[in-house]
């Protein structure tokens, strides 16, 4: 294992300490319990947006804390969900009286811990809603699995909902918007190499010199298929077509119902992409892939989108939701409307996303 670290155990803590030292005007880091929050939190009257999840996906989420995006991020150990006390403490810190939206990626650990945090927040009379992101089309079946994983759309949802909250949307409005972003976003990733979890010290999986994994998860979860290495144009085509041709996807998710004050099961269905749709195209690096290669992916993706009548209105290219030092990439296409575009363009000032 070759990493710039001291002890595997101190990895997350020291990385956050570095963030705190680097970005003191933007954010603060609380330890025990661990969460990162806007330096100027709480913003009175604004819905607070909180996200979180295992560490190892940097800059997501802590790099997105700041004006116009997240109010707080709760980092867990590497690839391990954070705990409800972190989420509760973050909510208390940043709630400006307009309530808190938890944006949760659909992994069993994250879902359960955020559910407990929601229940705890309710006990403390903090208004909370939770929205799941489950956009990874590599998981085709939701009957026999936890359902689709939350990947690239998370970043886009955090930006768009952060802008909406800054714009004065109330809690149900931000939650509705977040759900809409999720239902219009689809992603798929691939890996050329494995990541190595510091505490484990050896690669999560092993790929031959001429092999790649298509449909990889951001924790190195197995994908759809292991295949022989292909050209970037072919890889881009596989990812993009899996996304564009993905059919209606239906699943039942558990959301907090404010009026009934309890969990309710909600059926959600993605619509399909069709010619004429306007999209935001997001080419994401897995952490170890250089930016130059991501632009080659984008070049082909733009060509494919055009061929399928998808009009790319905005794009994002870079390492935003990563898997430690894994080489590889993911593509996310988000069908956008005027409202999403306006919110996407709204100013954002965070450590890793800024315009």
């Amino acid at each position: 294992m070759k990493k710039l670290i001291n002890q595997p155990d101190s990895f997350v803590r020291e990385s956050l300490a570095g963030m705190a030292a680097a970005h003191s005007s933007l954010l603060k880091v609380n330890f025990e319990p661990t969460f990162v929050y806007r330096a100027d939190a709480p913003v009175t009257g604004k819905v607070a947006i909180i996200s979180g999840g295992g560490s190892g996906h940097e800059p997501m989420h802590a790099g997105f804390v700041g004006m116009g995006m997240l109010d707080a991020a709760c980092p867990g150990e590497v690839f391990t969900s954070p705990t409800p006390d972190q989420m509760l403490a973050a909510a208390k810190q940043v709630d400006g009286g307009a309530g808190v939206l938890y944006i949760v990626k659909n992994y069993s650990g994250d879902v359960m811990n955020f559910e407990m945090a929601t229940e705890l927040a309710r006990v403390e009379d903090i208004r909370v809603l939770n929205v799941l992101i489950d956009d990874d089309v590599a998981v085709q079946d939701s009957l026999y699995t936890q359902g689709r994983r939350g990947v690239g759309t998370t970043v886009l949802a955090e930006k768009i909902c952060g802008a909406a909250a800054a714009d004065g949307y109330n809690l149900p409005q931000v939650a509705d918007l977040c759900r809409r972003v999720n239902l219009n976003g689809r992603s798929m990733g691939m890996a050329l190499t494995s990541c190595t979890v510091p505490t484990k010290g050896s690669p999560t999986f092993s790929l031959g010199d001429r092999e790649m994994e298509i449909g990889i998860g951001i924790h190195g979860e197995p994908g759809r298929e292991r295949m022989s290495l292909k050209s970037v144009d072919e890889i881009t085509e596989i990812l993009a077509l899996s996304i564009i041709n993905d059919r209606r996807y239906s699943r039942t998710v558990r959301e907090w119902d404010e009026t009934q004050e309890e969990w309710v099961d909600v059926e959600l269905v993605n619509s399909e992409f069709k010619s004429g749709d306007r999209v935001l195209a997001f080419v994401n690096g897995m952490g170890g892939t250089p930016l130059s290669e991501l632009y080659i992916v984008y070049r082909k993706l733009a060509e494919i989108c055009q061929k399928h009548g998808l009009q790319i209105m905005r794009n994002l290219i870079g390492n935003y939701i990563t898997s430690l030092e894994m080489q590889g990439c993911s593509i996310t296409l988000l069908k956008v409307d005027d409202e999403m575009l306006r919110l996407w363009d709204a100013p954002v000032k965070t450590a890793s996303l800024c315009w």
């Binding site: 705990t83 972190q86 069993s108 650990g109 979890v197 999560t204 979860e221 197995p222």
Partner: protein
């Protein structure tokens, strides 16, 4: 089962987790993300450090403290699941200084129900429920037959060990292992394994 046996149970469980940290992590490496032993050890190290200060509290308070500690230190899937198990277990024995066999049955049953509610997994999904569920059924039978707590737990551990092994041929439908599809078959579930260790630790506390 008295209070000091409850403390002993938790102490034993912490020791078992420490001893089996690598083993549980290896099981998780095969079908999950290689952290179950690490997660559980992080939680039960903290629990173990609190036990001496809990000795004079009632059983419900002890279990609630364990629950809170697990919830705030374990993370992942097992944190909320074990946390919920002990939270419900605590609620099942409010005010008790001593547990009759029926009390222990109630503790296990409500714990199991909590895990099911929290994780929405079903029997056969290749999770800790595949150990907890047959264990509660078997314990019920022992209560119906007026067995002692000790005898009931001795049978429970036999059932639990078998149930743990029975997860090997199962296809995972919950948790990370489910993404493996068919490839999850042939591996023992890590959560089921730690649950077996929990029950074994309980028996050891009764026998000591």
């Amino acid at each position: 089962m008295n209070k000091s046996q409850v403390i002993q149970w938790l102490q034993n469980f912490a020791t078992e987790i420490e001893r089996n940290k690598e083993y549980l992590t290896e099981l998780d490496a095969a079908i999950g993300d290689a952290d179950h032993g690490i997660n559980m050890e992080r939680g039960f190290k903290k629990v173990a450090s609190q036990l001496s200060s809990l000795a004079d509290k009632d059983i419900s308070t002890i279990l609630k403290t364990v629950s809170m500690t697990l919830i705030s230190t374990v993370g992942g899937a097992s944190g909320p699941l074990y946390g919920t198990f002990f939270l419900r277990a605590s609620a099942a024995v409010t005010g008790k200084e001593k547990l009759a066999t029926e009390d222990l049955l109630k503790l296990l049953r409500l714990g199991l129900e909590g895990v099911i509610q929290r994780g929405k997994a079903q029997l056969g999904d290749k999770t800790m429920i595949d150990v907890l569920s047959p264990v509660v059924d078997n314990f019920q039978k022992s209560v119906d037959n007026n067995q002692t707590t000790l005898v009931a737990m001795q049978q429970v551990v036999i059932v639990a060990e078998q149930a743990m092994k029975d997860t090997i041929p199962m296809l995972a439908k919950k948790g990370r292992a489910s993404y493996l599809g068919d490839r999850s078959i042939g591996h023992q579930d890590p959560g089921a394994t730690s649950t077996y260790l929990m029950l074994k630790s309980l028996l050891a506390a009764l026998e000591s």
